[in-house]
């Protein structure tokens, strides 16, 4: 059941010059949280920030009642959240949205670019627990963008690409050698810049593999009433916040 909660900042940990992990404590909604879902976080005390900001869960801790989010400080709202101090109150509406499919005993590929890696720690854990063989590839501009590699290694085989070649293979994510030769995955997951997700979806389609993409369209409410975050699909304009954020890419008009 979705709810509105006042949580408290437990830790704000900068990972590089523009990204941080926001860890909040005091959540009662943890038992409802599953891979793919997101929260709408209120940004207080900024005259130009009016709406909440949606973030996928990075992780949660049932014992400590904490939830965490991976945030790229790229706009007014995310930069303001980055100035919060330990103990500050953070108002959250959650958990929202649908979930990724979790098959059993399959071979799956997770593809994450930029802040799109956020939902994949929880997904990787759930996939491994269901007996799947998990492969995770992340892409970024430089080495600085390749994050959470050690967390991902707990759940599967990890690869990466950087555009400048500073880590992993040089080039775009879909140019990685993993995509050459025998490509025998049963399911692909993707989250990141739209161009990257479309390229991954195209490969999935060519190889006749199911592909799930987590979208991050601009939204006002997060629970299906403003009708702002719509995505064109074969079933008409659907709200990313309630019918998504996870969509099977064959349903999207990409």
């Amino acid at each position: 059941m979705k709810r509105i909660e006042d949580l408290h900042l437990k830790e704000l940990r900068w990972l590089n010059s523009n990204s941080y992990v926001l860890e909040l404590s005091g959540s009662e909604a943890i038992h409802d949280i599953r891979p793919g879902m997101f929260a709408e976080v209120r940004v207080d005390n900024h005259p130009e920030v009016f709406l909440r900001r949606p973030f996928s869960y990075l992780d949660y801790n049932k014992d400590e009642k904490t939830v965490s989010f991976f945030v790229k400080a790229i706009g007014k709202g995310t930069r303001k959240l980055g100035t919060l101090k330990q103990g500050d109150t953070v108002n959250v509406v959650h958990p929202l949205g649908n979930v990724f499919s979790i098959p059993e005993n399959k071979k799956v590929l997770i593809t994450g670019g930029g802040s799109g890696i956020a939902p994949f720690i929880m997904l990787g854990r759930a996939l491994k627990a269901a007996g799947n063989e998990v492969h995770i590839i992340t892409g970024g501009r430089t080495e600085e963008d390749i994050l959470f590699s050690s967390a991902f290694e707990e759940y599967g085989e990890v690869y990466c690409t950087t555009e400048d070649g500073s880590k992993g293979e040089k080039g775009l994510l879909t140019q990685h050698s993993l995509f050459e030769g025998s490509f025998d995955f049963d399911l692909i997951y993707t989250c990141g810049p739209e161009g990257m997700m479309k390229a991954v979806a195209k490969i999935a389609k060519e190889q006749d593999i199911e592909c799930e993409a987590s979208l991050e369209n601009l939204m006002a409410c997060g629970f299906g009433v403003c009708l702002c975050c719509i995505q064109e699909t074969d079933k008409g304009n659907l709200c990313v916040c309630t019918e998504g954020p996870v969509f099977n890419t064959k349903d999207l008009k990409w």
Binding site: M1, K2, R3, I4, R42, P47, E48, V49, F50, L51, R52, V93, N217, L218, M219, A220, C221, G222, F223, G224, V225, C226, L227, C228, C229, I230, Q231, E232, G236, N237
Partner: protein, 303 residues
């Protein structure tokens, strides 16, 4: 105990707080947050005769103290509503009010006749002020002759409570209000969104697919308050005031300016419990200010 009830035409509302059309879905989306039965009414998402996909993405842009939207009345049409949604709304212990839209006067009449069959919808809000549709919508609400024509036509086929929602995108709001009152409206709601625009200086492109959209939120509150006050002086029928109401103080200000009731809109996106908190806040204000009947606040602006 304070008396929060108000009357609009022949319709009794348990309190003066309703939710604005397009910001509260059909009410069901909020049951995890609070019981919508605690509200005076729910103005449901705008209805049209046929399915409308609405405008292309992007349809929303955040602005200082507000937001622009260009949704364009996305809904599945009246048949889908009657078959699939309406039966579920009967359980709410509050007034369900339909927001009626059309491209032509004939559309408004046909849709009103369909809504008139629905026993649990005791009122309609005639929307002649949507800024996000190419045909009809706001076009009816920015000239007196067309506003009169559509209001008179709908009045002829509708005996229940008829609320007409006005656009703020006019030169003289009082003249518009007097016109629809003369045409048979039982009540007026105002304001719909203000026509606005947002641009990305980097890409030099508009932020909305439709270039312009409707501005809502606290940014428009002073304009909305002024218009409510002007309309209050110009008509005798009761007013639903709205435009940037975020808390009980805002709602009380609208009542002092002349609103008999208020609608809470964009606030629902940021605090889904805002409408019910506003009901509680009005009650607290009345307690602390010795106001026994909420109707005492209507138009009680001191000069």
């Amino acid at each position: 105990m304070v008396d929060l009830s108000i009357k609009i035409h022949e319709l009794e509302f348990k309190n003066p707080v309703s939710t604005a059309s397009g910001t509260f879905g059909y009410g069901e989306e909020f049951v995890d947050f609070f019981d919508p039965g605690q509200l005076g009414g729910i103005f449901i998402k705008g209805l049209t005769l046929k399915n409308r996909d609405g405008n292309p993405y992007p349809r929303m842009a955040e602005t200082a103290s507000g937001m622009l939207n260009a949704v364009g009345l996305q809904n599945k049409g009246i048949d889908h509503f009657i078959e699939n949604i309406y039966p579920r709304l009967k359980k709410f212990d509050t007034h369900i009010i339909a927001n009626v839209n059309g491209s032509t006067v004939e559309d408004y009449i046909a849709l009103t006749e369909r809504v008139n069959e629905l026993e649990h919808i005791p009122a309609i809000e005639l929307n002649i002020s949507c800024p996000n549709v190419k045909e009809g919508g706001m076009a009816f609400g920015v000239s007196c002759p067309s506003a009169i024509a559509v209001t008179e036509a709908v009045r002829k086929v509708y005996d229940k409570t008829l609320i007409v929602k006005l656009s703020p995108n006019v030169t003289d709001i009082a003249e518009m209000a007097a016109a629809v009152e003369g045409a048979g409206a039982d009540s007026i709601s105002l304001v719909n969104t203000l026509l606005g625009m947002a641009i990305d200086a980097e890409s030099r492109k508009p932020l909305l697919s439709t270039i312009t959209g409707g501005l809502s939120g606290p940014a428009i509150k002073p304009i909305a308050l002024r218009m409510v006050w002007q309309v209050y002086k110009a008509v005798k029928i009761p007013i639903f005031g709205m435009g940037g109401i975020m808390n009980a103080t805002d709602a009380i200000e609208f009542m002092l300016a002349g609103s008999s009731a208020v609608q809470v809109g964009t606030a629902c996106f940021i605090d889904p419990q805002a409408p019910v908190k506003i009901v509680q806040g009005i009650e607290e204000y009345m307690d602390s200010h010795g106001v026994k009947d909420v109707k005492e606040l209507v138009g009680a602006l001191k000069s």
